[in-house]
C-alpha cells in the first residue's frame, strides 16, 4: 500500500473538494434517496444533514484510528458495523433532543446506515489516510451533503409552502406540486441541470455531466 508516499491535501482543499467539486449529491450523485425524501422543508434537510455530518465524521475518525487493526478482507462488514453503531447513537440522540423534527425524518435517519456516501468515503479516504486529513475530508463531505439538502429544501419550501425555515415569505397560494413526491424529483432534475450548465460555462464546455450513481 502506498499510503504515506504522497502528502495528504490540506484542510481547505479537502473542504472545498467535499462542498463543491465532489459534492455528494450534485456531482457524485450518491445517496439520492434522502435528497428527495426529506427535503420538503429546509429544517428537515438541515436535521438530516447534521445527522449525516456527525455519522460521517465519527465513522471516518473511527476507521482512521483503527485502520491498522482492520483486516482488508473483512473491511466492508467492519465498516458497516462501525457506521451502524454511530447511526444508532445519533438516532437516539436526535430522538431525545429534537423529537418534533425527528418524528418527520426518523426512518431516514436509521437508513443513513445504507447511504453509499459514508461507506465510500471510508473506503476511498479514511482507510488510507491519517487522522487529521480524514477528519477534514469527512467534514467537507458531510457539509457538502448538508448544503445540497438545504439548497433542495430551500427551493421546495419556498415554492411549495411559501416559507423559508418556517418563516412565511409570501401569503399567496403556494405551488403544492413542489411539496409532493413528484416535485422532489423535478427540483433535483432542475438543480442538477443548473449545476451542469454552470460547470459547462465555467470550464468552457469540456466538463462531463454528473456521473451516474449506482449506490446509496
Amino acid at each position: 500500500m502506498s499510503e504515506t508516499t504522497e502528502r495528504p491535501p490540506g484542510a481547505l482543499q479537502l473542504l472545498f473538494n467535499g462542498i463543491v467539486s465532489e459534492n455528494p449529491v450534485f456531482r457524485l450523485a450518491l445517496s439520492l434517496c434522502p435528497a428527495v425524501a426529506v427535503t420538503t422543508t429546509v429544517a428537515n434537510g438541515f436535521i438530516l444533514g447534521v445527522a449525516v455530518l456527525a455519522v460521517q465524521v465519527l465513522s471516518s475518525l473511527t476507521v482512521a484510528i483503527a485502520r491498522g487493526v482492520i483486516h482488508p478482507r473483512v473491511r466492508i462488514p467492519v465498516y458497516t458495523i462501525i457506521i451502524a453503531v454511530w447511526v444508532s447513537a445519533i438516532d437516539m440522540a436526535l430522538a431525545a433532543f429534537v423529537p418534533a423534527l425527528y418524528a418527520q425524518v426518523g426512518l431516514y435517519i436509521k437508513l443513513i446506515v445504507a447511504f453509499a456516501i459514508i461507506i465510500s468515503r471510508l473506503e476511498v479516504f479514511a482507510s488510507r489516510q491519517p487522522l487529521v486529513p480524514s477528519f477534514w475530508d469527512a467534514v467537507g463531505m458531510g457539509l457538502g451533503f448538508m448544503i445540497a439538502l438545504m439548497v433542495i429544501g430551500a427551493l421546495r419550501e419556498v415554492l411549495g409552502a411559501g416559507s423559508f425555515f418556517g418563516i412565511v415569505l409570501f401569503k399567496t397560494k403556494p405551488l403544492l406540486f413542489f411539496a409532493l413526491p413528484a416535485g422532489g424529483f423535478f427540483s433535483i432534475a432542475l438543480l442538477m441541470a443548473f449545476f451542469n450548465a454552470l460547470e459547462r460555462k465555467l470550464t468552457g464546455g469540456t466538463a462531463k455531466p454528473a456521473a451516474g450513481g449506482h449506490h446509496g
Binding site: A29, L30, S31, L32, C33, P34, V36, A37, P77, T80, I81, A84, V85, V87, S88, D91, M92, L107, K110, L111, V113, A114, F115, A116, I119, L180, P181, A182, G183, G184, F185, F186, I188, A189, L190, M192, A193, F194, N196, A197, R200, P209, A210, G212, G213, H214, H215, G216
Partner: protein
C-alpha cells in the same frame, strides 16, 4: 450452450409470471370476500348469523330467525369502535326487513376497522373484526402502489437510477429484489419478534437488521451458486448490489415499527418488492425510448432521468385513493 441456458430462461419466465398471477387472483378475489367479517354466535334463541359493514355508513346484521320490527329501535342497538367500546356511535336509523337489520351510523365506517356490536333484546354482544383478507389486500395494494417505495417513499433511488437503463437488467433486478426482500423480511421479523422485543433490545434494531440482511444475502448467494448455477449466472450480479440497499433495510424497519404479524410482514415485503419491480420495469421502458430523444445538453444523464421519475410519481399519485373496501 443453448441447452445450458434453457433452464435459466424457463425459470426466469416462471418467476416473472407467478407473482403476476398471484396479484390477479388477489385483485379478482378481493371484492367477493367483503362479507367474510363474520363470526358465528353459538347460544340459543335468535342469534346473529353475520355482520357486514356496508360502505359508507351502514352495518348489515343478518339474524338466524325473523327479527321483530318492534325491536328495531336505535335504543336496542349499541355500535362502537373496538378501541372505544364505552362511546357508542349515534345511529341515524334502524331498519328491519325479515332477518336483516340495517343500522345507519352518523359517521363513516370502514370494513378494515374493528367494531363492537351489542344488542339489548335479545341480549347479544359480539366483535366485528375485519376479514384477514381485507387487511392483507389493503396492505398489499398500499405497499405496492399507493406507497410505492420509489415514487412516493423515495427509497432505493440509487439502484432505481443505476439499473433502469436496460429492460433485461431491470426485470432481473426486480425479480431478485422481490425474492431477497421476502427472505430478509421474514428473517428480520423472526429476529425482531423472538429476540429483540422480548429482550427489550429495540435500540439495536439498525445494527441487527443490517447484519441479518447481509447474512441472508450472503447465504442466498452461496446457496444459489451451489444449487442453481444457471440461475446464479443470470441473477448473481444483482444479488451483490442489494446488500446495503435502503429498501431492503426499510422493510424490516417498517415491519418492526408497525409491530405486524408474520403474514402481514410477508405481504408487505411482497407488495414492496413487486412495487419496486414495477417501477424499475416502467422506468427502463421509458429510458430505452429516451435514448433516441434529443435531450438538452445540461439535462443529459441523471437530470432527465429524475424529471422522468417525477412524471411517473405524478402518475402514481392517482393511486392514492385506491381502495376496494371503502
Amino acid at each position: 450452450m443453448v441447452e445450458r441456458r434453457m433452464p435459466s430462461i424457463r425459470t426466469t419466465r416462471f418467476s416473472a409470471l407467478a407473482p403476476l398471477a398471484l396479484v390477479a387472483a388477489l385483485l379478482l378475489g378481493a371484492p367477493m370476500l367483503r362479507g367474510i367479517g363474520a363470526v358465528q354466535a353459538a347460544d340459543g334463541g335468535n342469534t346473529i348469523e353475520s355482520v357486514a359493514i356496508d360502505t359508507p355508513d351502514q352495518v348489515r346484521i343478518t339474524f338466524r330467525g325473523e327479527f321483530p320490527a318492534a325491536q328495531a329501535t336505535a335504543e336496542n342497538f349499541r355500535f362502537a369502535e373496538a378501541a372505544a367500546p364505552d362511546a357508542p356511535m349515534a345511529l341515524k336509523s334502524v331498519k328491519a326487513e325479515g332477518r336483516v337489520v340495517t343500522l345507519t351510523a352518523t359517521q363513516a365506517l370502514h370494513p378494515t376497522e374493528r367494531y363492537k356490536l351489542e344488542v339489548a333484546d335479545p341480549p347479544i354482544s359480539r366483535d366485528v373484526t375485519p376479514s384477514p383478507w381485507a387487511t392483507l389486500v389493503t396492505l398489499f395494494l398500499s405497499s405496492a402502489l399507493i406507497n410505492n417505495f420509489v415514487f412516493t417513499r423515495y427509497l432505493g433511488l440509487c439502484i432505481f437510477f443505476g439499473v433502469s437503463k436496460k429492460r433485461d437488467a431491470a426485470v432481473g433486478m426486480g425479480v431478485t429484489f422481490t425474492a431477497v426482500m421476502i427472505f430478509t423480511a421474514m428473517t428480520s421479523w423472526a429476529v425482531d419478534t423472538f429476540a429483540l422485543q422480548p429482550l427489550h433490545l429495540g435500540f439495536l434494531q439498525v445494527l441487527v437488521f443490517i447484519g441479518t440482511v447481509a447474512a441472508v444475502v450472503q447465504f442466498l448467494d452461496t446457496m444459489l451458486r451451489k444449487t442453481h448455477p444457471a440461475l446464479h449466472r443470470s441473477f448473481g450480479v444483482y444479488l451483490m448490489l442489494i446488500t446495503t440497499n435502503c429498501i431492503i433495510l426499510a422493510v424490516p424497519l417498517l415491519n418492526a415499527q408497525g409491530k405486524v404479524s408474520m403474514l402481514e410482514a410477508l405481504v408487505l415485503a411482497l407488495g414492496s418488492g413487486l412495487g419496486f419491480a414495477l417501477a424499475l420495469f416502467l422506468m427502463s421502458c421509458a429510458r430505452e425510448k429516451m435514448e433516441l430523444a434529443r435531450v438538452p445538453k445540461a439535462f443529459e444523464g441523471l437530470p432527465i432521468a429524475f424529471a422522468l421519475a417525477g412524471l411517473f410519481a405524478l402518475a402514481f399519485m392517482g393511486f392514492s385513493g385506491l381502495d376496494f373496501f371503502r
